[in-house]
Each structure stands twice: as structure tokens, then as C-alpha cells.
């Protein structure tokens, strides 16, 4: 095989062929695994009420700091992942916590991707001063330690769900703008764009019908990696006490609780962290698969 060609962001210039594309995806084992993990997390979030063995918020001091696998003599229930310092069931809290992770990361990524895609398209297509301004904004965003900026903004605005999504969306769009602009720059000079123009197509039509379909795939790949990053960052905010506030269980604020009891009850911090890692890894695997799929120079051989 000739898999040594560099991975570029050049989008495929062909119409997708659903069947062979799907077959290629299905052969990418890690990506399929990633997709399954993501589906499992989505199902967990949707059906938390049915899946959680106990309430995620009811405190039972009698059952505080019980280790994983502890059997509650009174109810006969096994506490598979143990309980926290207030006697809440960790397993149930993790199941409910998946909701916040998804509810923050997915809208944040979708919003920032749309903003970045639009600005990147315009900057790449028209160039000129707006391109210069945009690229400086991208540099600026890269210069700021993102987490500090997000922390300060969330602290100022107040740590509500809306504000967290807003801050994430408004501070992460430049990466999409940069990627889109790069892809548009290489497309602008392609024959099919010039052909469309010579047939009398206007800018709007060229952008919408000819350029956009070709930049969607790199943006989609980037977005999938960003979902993983947002899940981790949301939990970091929670860990620092600036995430969605208790009593709503989030993986981040569970970890913050766990830190205080790290010497006596490792499980309080260990399991939500594992949940974050597995989810983020699943999304990253999926992103890897999508990249191999969309990048025509990197056909995955499945070996």
C-alpha cells in the first residue's frame, strides 16, 4: 500500500459513494468502536431514569464512602461503583452526569463550527482585509490559555449551563475558521469553481453549491475532535468549581468531590474520570476514522 502520502487537509473532490464509504468506515475497527461508545453514552443520557439503579441526588449518610461492590444489607442492592461522601450512588451519578457532558459539548461544538465555517468561507473566498483581521483573531485565540479565558468568563457571567455553552462556542470558533479558510484557498483556484463562474454562477451559488460541500468534511473531522476536547474542558470547569452547579451531577463536579476524599475513597474520583476518558476516547477514535475516510490520500487498509 502507499499510505505514506502526507495527511493534508485537501478535501475529496468527488461525490461520495455511500455504500463503499460505509464499507470503508465499517472496516475501520477503532472508528466503529468509537461510534459504539458514543451511541452508548447517548443512550445512557437519554434513558438515565430507566438505567440508573438509584437516585443520583438522594443522600444516605448510612451508606457513605462505601467501596465498589459493597452490598447494602438492608435493601440487598449491590453498589457496583460505591458511594460518595454523602452516600450517593456513584454509578447512578455517572449515568446522569453523561447528560451535562453531551448537553454542553454538542451545542457548543455545533455553534462554534457554524461560526468558524461561515467566517472561514468568507475569509478564504474574498480575502482582503477581513481575511487579515480573521487570521489575527485566530492567532490571538491560540495565544490565550483557553482554559483561563473560559474560567474567567464563566466566573464573570455565572456558571450556568447557557453561559458555559456560550463561552465555549465563542472562544473556540477560530480553529474552524482557520481550517475552512485553508481548504477554501486551495479550492478557489480549482477548475470547477472557474467553470461554474464562467457559466454565470454568482458568488453565493458558488460558495453554497461548489465550495461548501468540499470543506464540510475537514470541518466535520475537526468538530469530532473538538467534541472530545469540550467534554474534557467542561469537566475541568466542574473540577475547578465553575461548571454546572450541584446538586446536578456532572462528571467534573464528581471529580471535585473525589479530590477531597482521595486518600480514603479513591473510587469517587476514579470512575467519573474513567467515564470522561472512555467517552472522549470514543469520540477521538470516531474522529480518526472520519479523517481516514474523508482523506482520499489515506485509504485505510484495515490491516
Amino acid at each position: 500500500m502507499t499510505g505514506t502520502v502526507p495527511a493534508t487537509l485537501t478535501p475529496p473532490l468527488e461525490h461520495s459513494r455511500p455504500r463503499s464509504t460505509w464499507r470503508r468506515f465499517a472496516r475501520h475497527r477503532l472508528a466503529c468502536g468509537g461510534l459504539l461508545i458514543l451511541l452508548a453514552v447517548v443512550l445512557m443520557a437519554l434513558f438515565a431514569e430507566a438505567l440508573a439503579p438509584r437516585s443520583p441526588v438522594v443522600q444516605q449518610i448510612r451508606l457513605r464512602l462505601k467501596p465498589p461492590g459493597f452490598v447494602d444489607a438492608r435493601s440487598g442492592q449491590t453498589l457496583w461503583l460505591g458511594t460518595d461522601h454523602l452516600g450517593r450512588d456513584i454509578c447512578s451519578r455517572i449515568i446522569y452526569g453523561s447528560r451535562i457532558s453531551l448537553v454542553v459539548s454538542l451545542p457548543a461544538v455545533a455553534t462554534s463550527a457554524i461560526i468558524g465555517l461561515t467566517l472561514g468561507l468568507l475569509a478564504g473566498f474574498y480575502g482582503g482585509w477581513c481575511e487579515g483581521v480573521l487570521m489575527r483573531l485566530v492567532d490571538l485565540q491560540l495565544a490565550f490559555p483557553f482554559i483561563l479565558l473560559a474560567l474567567s468568563l464563566v466566573a464573570l457571567l455565572g456558571p450556568s449551563l447557557h453561559n458555559i455553552i456560550l463561552v465555549f462556542a465563542l472562544t473556540t470558533w477560530p480553529v474552524y475558521a482557520r481550517t475552512t479558510r485553508g481548504a477554501v484557498l486551495s479550492l478557489r483556484a480549482q477548475e470547477f469553481v472557474q467553470a461554474a463562474r464562467s457559466l454565470g454562477a454568482g458568488d453565493g451559488r458558488i460558495l453554497w453549491r461548489h465550495v461548501l460541500p468540499n470543506v464540510v468534511s475537514p470541518v466535520l473531522v475537526l468538530a469530532s475532535f473538538e467534541v472530545a476536547r469540550m467534554i474534557i474542558l467542561e469537566s475541568a470547569l466542574g473540577f475547578l468549581g465553575l461548571g454546572v452547579q450541584p446538586p446536578i451531577p456532572t462528571w467534573g463536579n464528581m471529580l471535585a468531590d473525589g479530590r477531597d476524599y482521595i486518600r480514603d475513597a479513591w473510587w469517587i474520583a476514579a470512575f467519573p474520570g474513567l467515564a470522561i476518558m472512555i467517552t472522549a476516547a470514543g469520540v477521538n477514535f470516531l474522529g480518526d476514522g472520519l479523517r481516514d475516510l474523508f482523506d482520499p490520500t489515506l485509504h485505510y487498509t484495515g490491516s
Binding site: G3, A143, F144, P145, L149, A228, G241, A269
Partner: protein, 305 residues
């Protein structure tokens, strides 16, 4: 040509720093509500708020406030820390060495292990080693840094008692935090180094070198490595902001007395002068590092000269 590039690039960096001051200034002013009330809290009397507004210059028009902020910032004056009643910048700067020590330790660890692993992965492409390294790399990038830190504390400090869980001082204090923060970069370095090396190894000049009868070792080290490092250097430069951001969280896990810990505490205490100076100091640091990286890049890669 090179001089022109140097000047242009430096001007660009200055512009970035200028924009950064604007963001840091606006941070306090775009938010709903009055900064004075935010700082004083809900219990403050209207007189106290009015007093603070006047002393902070909040009763002046916004552009005038920014002008004053910029002028003061250029002299290193961000006002007094509200809690510590000391110059905010000084308060932040005295913690900078600790943060730099942690970041440098993490960086060194990540580069010294990530680059060889990446090279080996490329050389033994699609072997068990390669798949293993890729898996570890992806896992490293999927792990919340602070969680890794907590788990390392559980294992090495609580159970094995080999290493201290927190604080700063001797070398053993640095091991866990540097490893934790380094894991953050290692995945990226392994993947980048691998793909860059694969790219270089497929080039004609490598084939020529092999054809000349040079040993595998010499071809790898002398011909491939230097070229393969170029993209890695650029991306590492761009990751400095992320590294320093990661340091902020790592510091809070290990009670490492650096800028991150001060800043997080200041954010919680609404000590804005400290937050503003910390964010700006880190941003300026990243801009300077990127400037240096570009200069190194310029030197390494004669094609862009």
C-alpha cells in the same frame, strides 16, 4: 529578506499583545452588571460602590478607561490585588518561575519520550509497537489531565508512598506534576512525529541516501530526523498556550505554588486585577514563545527563507 521577515513577524507579535490587552480589558467590561458591584459583592453599600467606581475610573467613557488601562499596563501597573493589597503584577510574577519550572519539566519529558516513540512507530509502521503507541497516544489525548494527576497521587503518594502528593521543593516533587502535564502533550507529539517521519521517509532523497549505501541509522538520523522535526517544532510552538493552560489545572491538583493556582484562587475571589495580569502575562509569554519558534523554524527550513 530575513530582516524584513523579522520585522514583520515582530510587528505581528506586538499587534497580538495589543489585542490581548484589549481582550483582558474587555473581560471585565463586557459582563452584565457593574464591575464595582461584582468586586464588592452583594453586601456593599451604594456609597462603597460609588467610591470604588470613582477610584477605578469606571465613571469615565470606555475608550478613556481603556487608554488608561493600556498606559498603566505598559508600566506594569494592573492595580492592587483586591485581596492581598499588593501590586497585582508582582503577585503574579513571583509565581511565574514555579509555573515555568513545571511546564519545562513536562515539556522535556514529553519531547524526550514522545519523539523517540513517534520515530519508532514510523520506522516499524503497522507493527504491534506502532498500534500500541497509537493507542496510548489517543488515550493520552482523551484523558483529563487532572484526573490522571489524582490517580497518580492515589497510586504513588497514598498507596506506595514513593513520591510526595503536593508541594514544591526537591526533584521528587516535580515528578508527578511534570508527568501529568507531559501526558497532555505526549499523544500529540507521538502522532505528529510519526506522520511527519512517514512523510519524510517516502521522499526521493531518502531513497537516494539508501541507494548510496548509507547505513539505515545514518539515513534516519542525518537525513530524515531533521526534516521530520520541522512540522513538530511549529505545532509544539502553537501548543504552548495549551501547555500553560494545562499547567493551571495541574497546579491546582498538586498544590504547586505557581501562577495557575494563584489565578484560580483569584477567579474564585473575584480578584480581577490579579486575573487580568495573570491572563495577560501568560498570553504575552505564548506570543513570545511563538515568535521564537518562528525564528527557529525560519532557521531550520531554508525553503521559506
Amino acid at each position: 529578506m530575513t530582516m524584513e521577515y523579522l520585522v514583520l513577524r515582530s510587528l505581528q507579535s506586538l499587534l497580538l499583545i495589543f489585542l490581548a490587552t484589549l481582550v483582558v480589558f474587555l473581560l471585565l467590561h463586557i459582563t452584565p452588571g457593574d464591575p464595582a458591584t461584582l468586586i464588592l459583592g452583594d453586601q456593599a453599600t451604594p456609597e462603597q460602590v460609588a467610591d470604588l467606581r470613582r477610584s477605578m475610573g469606571l465613571d469615565r467613557p470606555l475608550h478613556e478607561q481603556y487608554g488608561r488601562f493600556l498606559a498603566n499596563a505598559m508600566c506594569g501597573d494592573f492595580g492592587l490585588s483586591i485581596r492581598a493589597q499588593r501590586p497585582a503584577l508582582m503577585y503574579v510574577m513571583e509565581r511565574l518561575p514555579a509555573t515555568l519550572q513545571l511546564s519545562a519539566g513536562a515539556f522535556a519529558f514529553a519531547v524526550l519520550t514522545g519523539i523517540p516513540i513517534g520515530i519508532l512507530s514510523a520506522v516499524k509502521r503497522l507493527s504491534l509497537w506502532d498500534h500500541g503507541a497509537m493507542f496510548v497516544a489517543l488515550l493520552g489525548q482523551s484523558m483529563p489531565v487532572y484526573w490522571l494527576g489524582l490517580m497518580l497521587i492515589v497510586i504513588f503518594a497514598v498507596h506506595l508512598r514513593w513520591l510526595p502528593a503536593s508541594g514544591m521543593g526537591q526533584l521528587q516533587h516535580l515528578i508527578l506534576p511534570a508527568f501529568t502535564l507531559g501526558m497532555f502533550l505526549i499523544g500529540l507529539i507521538i502522532r505528529l512525529m510519526r506522520s511527519s517521519m512517514l512523510d519524510v521517509l517516502s521522499r526521493d532523497y531518502i531513497r537516494t541516501a539508501h541507494a548510496k549505501g548509507l547505513s539505515r541509522h545514518i539515513v534516519l538520523v542525518r537525513h530524515a530526523l531533521k526534516n521530520a522535526c520541522i512540522p513538530v517544532v511549529t505545532v509544539l510552538g502553537l501548543q504552548m498556550g495549551t501547555l500553560l493552560g494545562g499547567a493551571v489545572i495541574t497546579e491546582t491538583v498538586f498544590a504547586w505554588p505557581g501562577m495557575g493556582m494563584v489565578t484560580v484562587t483569584a477567579i474564585h475571589q473575584r480578584d480581577y486585577p490579579v486575573v487580568q495580569s495573570a491572563v495577560l502575562v501568560l498570553a504575552v509569554l505564548v506570543v513570545l514563545i511563538n515568535w521564537c519558534v518562528d525564528m527557529v523554524y525560519h532557521y531550520l527550513d531554508p525553503r521559506i527563507r
